[in-house]
Every structure is written in C-alpha cells, then in structure tokens.
C-alpha cells in the first residue's frame, strides 16, 4: 500500500519560531532579478568594448 520508510523521507523540516532570527539574518536570498543584474553586470565587465561598439 505505502512504504512508510520511503515516504517519511519526503517530509522535511518546518521553520520553528525560535529559529526565525537566525534564518532571516542568514538568508541573503537572491531572486531572478539579482541574477539578471549580476549576469548583466558580468557581461558588461567582460565585454565592455563590444557594448560600446554597439
């Protein structure tokens, strides 16, 4: 019917209130916009002349 030992592995940890402070301070989460900005910035640095040519 169900393999409980396998099933239980799908259950993860849930954030406890006591852990909130550490979690929020530690999370320097990047979003897609950060990544795009980072990519754009990297490309700008890597190919500055190309962009100027354009």
């Amino acid at each position: 019917m169900i393999n409980f030992k396998e099933e239980i592995k799908k259950y993860g940890k849930i954030l406890e209130v006591d852990e909130l402070e550490d979690t929020i301070h530690a999370s320097d989460m990047k979003d897609i916009m950060d990544m795009l900005a980072y990519i754009c910035k990297s490309q700008q640095g890597r190919y500055p002349k190309d962009s100027q040519k354009r």
């Binding site: 169900i2 239980i8 406890e16 006591d18 909130l20 979690t23 897609i32 754009c40």
Partner: protein
Amino acid sequence: MICQNCGSEIGQSGICPACGSDVRLLNMARNASLRQYNKGVTAAKEGDYSGAIEALNRCILFDKRNAVARNLLGIAYYQVGMPGNALEQWIISSSIQAENNPAAGYINALQRHARTLEKQDDAVVMYHKALELFQSGSEDLAVIQLKKAVDFSPNFVTAHNLLAAYYLSRKEKSKARFHINKALRVDKANPKALEYLAILTSGGSEKESKSKTGYDESAARKDFSRIIRPELVTFVLGVVVTAILTFFLALPAVTEMQESTIRDLEQQVATLTEENENGTSKFALEYQELEAENEQLKTENEAYRQSEANREQAGKLQLAQAYAVSDQQAEAAKLLHDLDVEKFSEEDQALIAQLKEQTYTFAAAEYYESGNGKFSAGDTAGAEADLLLALEYGQKEDFMDNVLYLLGQIYEEKGDYAQAKEYYGRVVNEFAGSDVFSQAEERMNAILSL
C-alpha cells in the same frame, strides 16, 4: 526611466549605465512574478493553500521584494499550521515595506495571541520529534507526538499527512481517512493528501459506498469511529482489568467463605441425621406430637359421634313414646326395633322393654294383615317381607301360626323346602290347637317324603 535595480537614470538603450541591468529582462522577470502572484491569489481564494504557497514562492523567486506576495504567502503558511514560515515572510515583508504594510498587523495579532502561537510552534517541535522517533523505529511514540501536535494545532496539514501515511502503511484505513479528511478540510488540494486518498480509494476495501437504500455507510463508519474514541477503549480496558484484579483478589476470601459454609452444612446434616436416628429431631418430635394430637382428636371425634348417636337413639325413644301415647303403636314399634338397647341406661332399657311389650303386638298384627292380603293377591315377595316383619315383632299372638304357615307356603313355592319345613314344623310344634295345624303337618310330611 529609472533603473529598478539601483535607481539610476536609464537612457533609450534600456541598459542601466550604473549597474548594467537590462530593463527589458527585469520587466519580463517582474511580469513573471506577477503572473505567479495572481496564481497564488486565485489558489488562496479557493482554499488551495499548498498551491498558493507553491505559486507565491515562485513569485518571490522572481521578485524577492514583492511584499504583497510575501504577505499572502505568510497567510497561506499560517493557514496550514506553519507559523514560523508565516512570521518569516511577514518580517521580511515588513523590512521591504515598513509603512502601510499589513504584515505588521499580522505580526502584532500573533503577539497578542501568544499562547496560540506557542501551541502552534510546539506542534511543529513535536512534528520534528516525531520524525526523529519514526526514523529511530519508535513508531508508537512518534504517533503520540503527532497526535499531540494535531491536538495543539488542528490545522497542521503536514502532521495530518504524516499520520495518514503512517496509518496507510499499517492498513488502518479508517484512521488514515480521518487524517486525510482533516488535511483536505484545511487545504482543499493538498497534493500529499490527495495522493494518499487515491491510494486509499484504490485499496478497494474501503471505497465510498452507498447502500441500495441510499444510506451512506462510509459516513456512518466515520461517525462510529468518532464515537469509538481511544479514551473509550482505554476506559473499557481499565474496567476489564479492574474486574479481573478484583476477582483474583477476592477469590481466596470467597473460597474460604464457601468452605466454611460447606463445613457448617455438613455439621447440620450430621446433627439432623443423628436426631433422626434417635427420634429426637425436631421433625420427629413434631411428628410424634401430631400423632398424639391426631389420636386425641380421633377419640374426641368418636366420643362426639357416640354422643350424637346416643342423642339420636334417645330422640327415637322419645318419639316412640310419643307414638305409643298417641295410639300409633305400629310406628312406635318400628322406632323401638331400631334402638340399640345396650347404649341406654337400665332405666331406659326397662322403659324400652315396656314399650316393646305394649306396641310390638300391634305391629305384628299390622304386618300380618298386610302380608296376608298380599299373599292372597299373589304378591308373594311383598307378602314374604311383611310376614317376616310380623314374625319378628310377634311372640305368641294367636295369628302367629298363620304367619308361619303362610311363610312355609311361600318358601315351599320358592323351592326352599328346608326353610318351608322349619316354618311348618314350628306350627306343628308350637301351635297344637291351630286351625292350620293339620295343613302344616301335611305339608311338612310331604316335604319330608321328597
């Protein structure tokens, strides 16, 4: 145009000269974020909190500064019993947008209901403890922790799902169904709960069914399982165990009491047997008393009966006297004839004799005349009876020879020659001057010659 990334002025190129961001790409990302936010809102409105959480997490993956999405994500987390995650989103939302942000109100509301928050957070701690216990093989303890968790936080969908998974693995379908229903009641499209429901339904034995009458049997079973709660089972078990312990503790005392009773009864039997053999038992004595009483009553009854008979005899005597005085001699003679003379006093006996002497002759004459008439009429049986009475009452009256002679003829006709000969012989022997002497003698000789 202002760069949304750094706030610098952007020219027509669409590329931020300060940070190098491509505004077109950023707008595309923002639009994607908004689409996910809209999905999340729709799902949340429909009560599909897990779908909302999924969409809103994608939303903030595209745009982490979307405070509105974070607020809604926090609400969705809170609805499914995850207050830590909810607070996390609201705190970040507040940090992104300090003013006019409802997240602050949500946080304040939780702080006002600190006890509720504490219980919900304790439920999460218990859930973690249950996970550890399951992994260490202590399933019973883990289930206890999970049950406490859902008791503390009834909307804790993940805990309900885990319990459902456990019960499914144990094939305890009704319990699994109970927790699946609980989870789906909070989160209508929870993927885990739906997956378990599908497994449960495909299991076959506990498919939703309605009887021919339309009665929902599964609902009835559900109600029944609600009634048969673990507390009730525990209580019943407690009663049974108490009864067993009481039985075993009381058994020796009961046995001793019964043995004592048996000894007493045996003693009573022995005593009664001895008394019975000696005739001194209560029943024997009572029987003897009753026997004596019975004898006494018999004696008294006999005396009473005798007294009654004597009174009757005395009454007859008095009546006979009355008849004699009133010249009804024959009637008087008949009463006197029935009297038992021995029971009367000597004085009365003398009176009876006197009355008999006075009345018997009249009675004999009366019976003689009656018998003679019946004989002449051919009624020999009637004549015989009357003549025998006449013979009984009579002594030596002058008609007694005729009485004897008539009786001799009657018995001769009946063929009783011996009796006939006796009557004829009495005429010959006792009445020599009788007018029927010769006839009697002749008949007697005729009989003797037979």
